[in-house]
């Protein structure tokens, strides 16, 4: 069975896709750090960041609808965290109301923090979505490995990426087997069957892990994680990094005034 997620738009041929994944990872991380460190009141800086990201997305030829979809999926989590901020920060009250003896008030300082969290999360999310959508997952892992992320993490991520599909197929098979034998609408039995299925799935993945380990050992695995290394960065990658980094510095300096 074919599954495509995480990197379904990674095959497009564009400037962004052609960049060395390491260069891309460095840039995006630099952008996120730069965004996070920006003064919350520097509105022009944020506008420029947004503009920069939009240009990059445009260059990558990834449909904006795809990026937005990804983005909407994450937004609720950010909102859930940010929504309480205006209420808990002390300061000058802009609005207050009393319910059941509790004083609710929204402060100016709280609103600033709310805006700060929201805009920074939004811009950082766009950066990350662009990175993930425009890079093959396997290349991204290799790039992160080259950038000295501990190899054990890379190995865990690559196993996750390899076997998440296998487990998904396994679950689908179990579900079909269950559906073809369960007639009628007894909700409770369904839930019971579901919990059994999860148990079976757990045992299967455990056993799969054992055989995979045996297969690794037969091919010489000795407990140390080794990864093949990359070639040198191309000249064009370095130019791209320099241009974007200069742009980031410019935004930061400009935003101070």
């Amino acid at each position: 069975m074919k599954h495509d997620f995480i990197d379904s738009h990674s095959d497009i041929n564009s400037v962004i896709h052609r960049l060395d994944p390491r260069a891309k990872a460095i840039l995006i991380i630099a952008m996120v750090i730069s965004i996070v460190l920006t003064n919350p009141k520097a509105l022009i800086s944020f506008a420029l960041y947004g503009f920069l990201i939009l240009i990059l997305i445009f260059l990558s030829k990834i449909p904006i609808s795809y990026i937005l979809k990804r983005f909407i999926m994450v937004m609720p989590f950010i909102l859930l965290i940010a929504i309480f901020l205006p209420f808990i920060k002390d300061g000058e009250a802009l609005w207050s109301h009393s319910i059941f003896g509790f004083d609710l008030k929204i402060t100016y300082e709280g609103l600033i923090i709310f805006w700060n969290v929201l805009i920074k999360a939004l811009l950082s999310m766009l950066c990350m979505t662009l990175l993930i959508a425009s890079t093959k997952f396997t290349h991204l892992l290799k790039a992160l490995g080259d950038l000295k992320l501990p190899k054990i993490f890379i190995m865990i991520f690559s196993f996750m990426y390899r076997y998440i599909f296998v487990l998904q197929d396994e679950l689908e098979k179990l579900k079909r087997a269950k559906d073809s034998r369960s007639a009628g609408k007894r909700r409770w039995l369904n839930i019971k069957a579901l919990s059994n299925m999860l148990g079976v799935l757990f045992i299967k993945s455990y056993e799969k892990g054992e055989t995979v380990y045996l297969a690794m050992c037969s091919r010489g695995f000795d407990g140390n994680v080794k990864l093949l290394e990359y070639n040198k960065l191309a000249f064009s990658d370095i130019i791209f990094i320099v241009v974007i980094l200069m742009f980031l510095v410019f935004i930061n300096v400009f935003g101070r005034f």
């Binding site: 074919k2 599954h3 997952f137 396997t138 892992l141 690559s158 196993f159 990426y161 390899r162 076997y163 599909f165 296998v166 799969k208 055989t211 995979v212 045996l214 297969a215 690794m216 050992c217 037969s218 091919r219 010489g220 695995f221 000795d222 080794k226 093949l228 290394e229």
Partner: protein, 244 residues
């Protein structure tokens, strides 16, 4: 003929005490294609796991004159390649290239050598086109071929296959048989596919209940109706029809 595998009085019991293998004595010679047959649960797969020390029982095993011991494991594992039955276990890296490169990489070769070995191995199984593909996007037959390549890339002197033809459609099964025929190295094949054994093996070992019941020429064993049927097998059709 040169002896490549020597096994004397191998015995193994599972941690719970069940005996899996008893008193196995076997010599395998260079360039032989040995079929290992037997009913389900006879101990075929358990036996294969002993060949590169994944399981270690009692008795003596030597591979290419190297005794199977903890300190020789690395050397032995580069000489004897085991292809597991389930390609999803054999192919554990995200891309085909990384998978085929895994073995050579652990042999401590340089990047260029690894690349060359990977290309050669994929070429031998006709899968060069899939080098950058993700393993889970391949068909079952393709996964099988890549599985074999993952081991070939280590240039082993002995190839061990567990149920290589299971779950394959006739065309892919035939491709696989042709591929195995072309590989001129010592091969051990554990399988229920007796027609395939008849087609490619030179010698057959029948295992049941953890013991070697019979060991001999393909034609003799595969035409012995009484022997096969008393161990949950049957005379393959190609023998009945007198093909070959």
């Amino acid at each position: 003929m040169k002896k490549v595998i020597e096994i004397r009085e191998l015995g193994y019991s599972y941690p719970d005490g069940t005996t899996a293998l008893k008193d196995i004595n076997l010599n395998v010679f260079e360039n032989e294609t040995l079929g290992i047959i037997g009913p389900n649960g006879a101990g075929k797969s358990t036996f294969l796991l002993h060949l590169n020390g994944l399981l270690q029982g009692k008795g003596y095993i030597s591979i290419l004159d190297i005794e199977l011991k903890e300190k020789n494991l690395k050397k032995i594992r580069s000489k004897i390649g085991i292809v597991f039955q389930d390609p999803d276990s054999q192919l554990f890296m995200p891309t085909v290239f990384e998978d085929v490169a895994f073995g050579p990489m652990y042999m401590g070769l340089s990047k260029d050598d690894v690349k060359k070995l990977v290309t050669d191995a994929l070429d031998r199984v006709d899968m060069t086109w899939a080098m950058d593909k993700l393993s889970h996007h391949l068909s079952y037959g393709e996964k099988r071929r890549v599985s074999i390549a993952t081991v070939l890339s280590m240039s082993p002197e002995i190839l061990v296959l567990d149920e290589p033809s299971s779950n394959l459609d006739p065309k892919h099964r035939r491709n696989l048989i042709n591929l195995l025929k072309e590989l001129k190295i010592t091969k051990l094949i554990a399988t229920h596919d007796l027609d395939m054994v008849f087609d490619i093996c030179t010698r057959v070992v029948l295992i049941d209940d953890g013991k070697i019941i019979a060991d001999g020429n393909v034609n003799d064993i595969l035409s012995d109706k009484a022997l096969l049927e008393s161990h949950g097998l049957e005379v393959p059709l190609s023998v009945v029809l007198g093909e070959k």
